[in-house]
Amino acid sequence: MSVDSSDGHLAQLRRPFEGPNTLGNSSAFWAGLAVAVALLAAMPVVFGYYAAEVGAVFLAYALLGMSLAFIWGYCGILSFGQVAFFGVAGYAFGIVAINVSTLTGATLGLLAAVAVSTAFAAVLGYFMFYGGVRDVYVTILTLVVALVLFTFMGQTAGGEWAIGDARLGGFNGMSGVPDLGIGVGSVGLEVGLVGHYYVTLGTVVATYLGLRALVNSQFGYAMVATREDETRTEMFGYDTTFIKFAVFTIGGAIAGLGGVLFTTQNNYIDPSVFGITAAALPVVWASVGGRTSLLGTVGAALAIQFVDYQLAISGSEWALVFIGSLLVFVVLVMPEGVAPRLHDHVAEYREPNDPEPAETPAATDYPGGDD
């Protein structure tokens, strides 16, 4: 990767976000990303409020997908229950914000919801990883947790299932969940429809950049090493149990953040967020987009949910068939996912035209730095 002096500052700015653990470490990639974010930002202006409303839900799903790509793609933990943290955070926000009216409630709700989903993931992760649960058993256990929540929340229709003014509502769900807001009392910022879209988009971009920095840090190398061979990594002096615990907890926090943005957009949440269909979706997004690509998973979440939505509003029942077929196709044809496959093709195409000097400082820091 050669950098001329004119974009030296930009290269420095990019540096923490680049490394062999992420695809896309070139100027062209960052320019493409900036264009994509700008197009997403322009969407409410071009397509109107309704597009912002639907788009915000897709972006909240993208956060959920990223949380799985982070723990599965980078640390080898296939959680089939990321929706548990997503949904628990949504309910937690509703309970706090309905009971504490005004902006104070929305602010406290946001903090409490992310804290609850993080703590939930930490407790579950602690018992799983320190209890020696590994591999496919983690997958089964996390799915069971989501399904238990689905069953439990489904039977909360009775009037006795209320926390203060917040009725859990069983399969009818919890309605009247306030909008997102930051402030105390009536002083602060209430996030409206379009504002919510931009907050969600900003959160997705910030989370993406934050995770890129994390996976390219020393901790990121330890995560990848743990994914590749846990025993070997432990014999290099890494506490792999703690690494998995920490990664799983961070994943729970991100999924929780997505859950809050999802619930506040809809002003509603019901137990279907914990259901088997919802639980499978993040796995599909990460598989199709490429679990080792955060951005690939985001793209897959947005694209798949868009098609799913179009199929649903057209009145057809083909949405799940489409998603299932897509998953089977990708697993058979490109098991690593679309983004890594695309990256390989681009690299092959560029290689003859763009030979990388072996001894540049960037090349000595990480290999294959240019895609």
Partner: protein, 258 residues
């Protein structure tokens, strides 16, 4: 101590803390049982700083189990392990590594999906905060892998993979290096290269080594002393000449033609 022969040379016991000026490792009555099977049977073993010790014995003698007890991959049923004067018996693996115990596994245990440089980065970042490029280059030069720097580890030859793993183990700058069959499957030339490398590590870096090996010619070319394990116990201990001349060792392990 359930040793089978009174001629075994045992080291003097360590003091309360297990510390001896030049003793890097000592086990006391170390025992590991798997159900009804005793894989390691009250083993007393000692190793000095910079010593290169080979561990030999027939299949099932408990060699790998013994090494796994030292690394913490297995928990002993009874007994103690002292390393550098400290009791590490209950210490988790990763903490033992932080204190300077490093391991090369029997099957080349490298990150096959990562490049050679990325492989080295994993142990290196445990001991240096920066300058990965400089240290990586030094290690690659020493282990003759500089040209393979950006090669995916799975594409390396078996001999290169063995060298890479030893390089990764040495990147941790250990005091004690444990190697489980480091020349298994290597050609005569590659075996000789590894022999030179291990002797150099012991002599120049002052690292103590325990090497499990079946190839008695290889053992002869590197070992200061040899320990023979049989049925979980230390059967003999001595110089390679003493071991080779011992008729009982010949009978259980070397075969009459040696």
């Amino acid at each position: 101590m359930a040793v089978s022969d009174p001629t075994i040379k045992t080291k003097p016991a360590v003091d309360e803390t297990g510390r001896k000026s030049s003793r890097v490792l000592q086990t006391r009555d170390l025992r590991k049982e798997f159900g009804g099977l005793t894989a390691t049977d009250d083993v007393d073993f000692a190793l000095e700083e910079g010593e290169l010790r080979c561990l030999i014995g027939p299949n099932g003698a408990g060699k790998s189990t013994f090494l796994n007890l030292l690394t913490g991959q297995l928990e002993p049923t009874a007994g103690s392990i002292y390393y550098d004067g400290h009791d590490i018996t209950a210490m988790p693996s990763h903490e033992r590594v932080e204190r300077g115990i490093s391991m090369k596994f029997q099957v080349p245990s490298i990150y096959e999906g990562l490049t050679v440089a990325q492989n080295l980065r994993v142990p290196l970042q445990q001991v240096v905060d920066d300058d990965f490029a400089v240290r990586t280059r030094e290690i690659l030069e020493r282990f003759d892998l500089l040209a393979e720097r950006e090669t995916t580890a799975s594409d390396l030859s078996h001999g290169q993979q063995q060298r890479l793993e030893i390089g990764m183990a040495m990147a941790l700058e250990p005091k004690l290096l444990l190697l489980d069959e480091p020349v298994a499957g290597l050609s005569v030339e590659e075996t000789a290269e590894i022999a030179d490398l291990l002797c150099e590590i012991a002599a120049d870096d002052g690292v103590a080594l325990i090497v499990i090996e079946h190839d008695i010619d290889f053992v002869e070319s590197i070992a200061d002393r040899v320990t023979v394990l049989d049925q979980g116990t230390i059967f003999r201990e001595g110089s390679i000449e003493e071991i080779k001349a011992d008729p009982e060792v010949k009978r259980i392990y070397l075969g009459e033609d040696h």
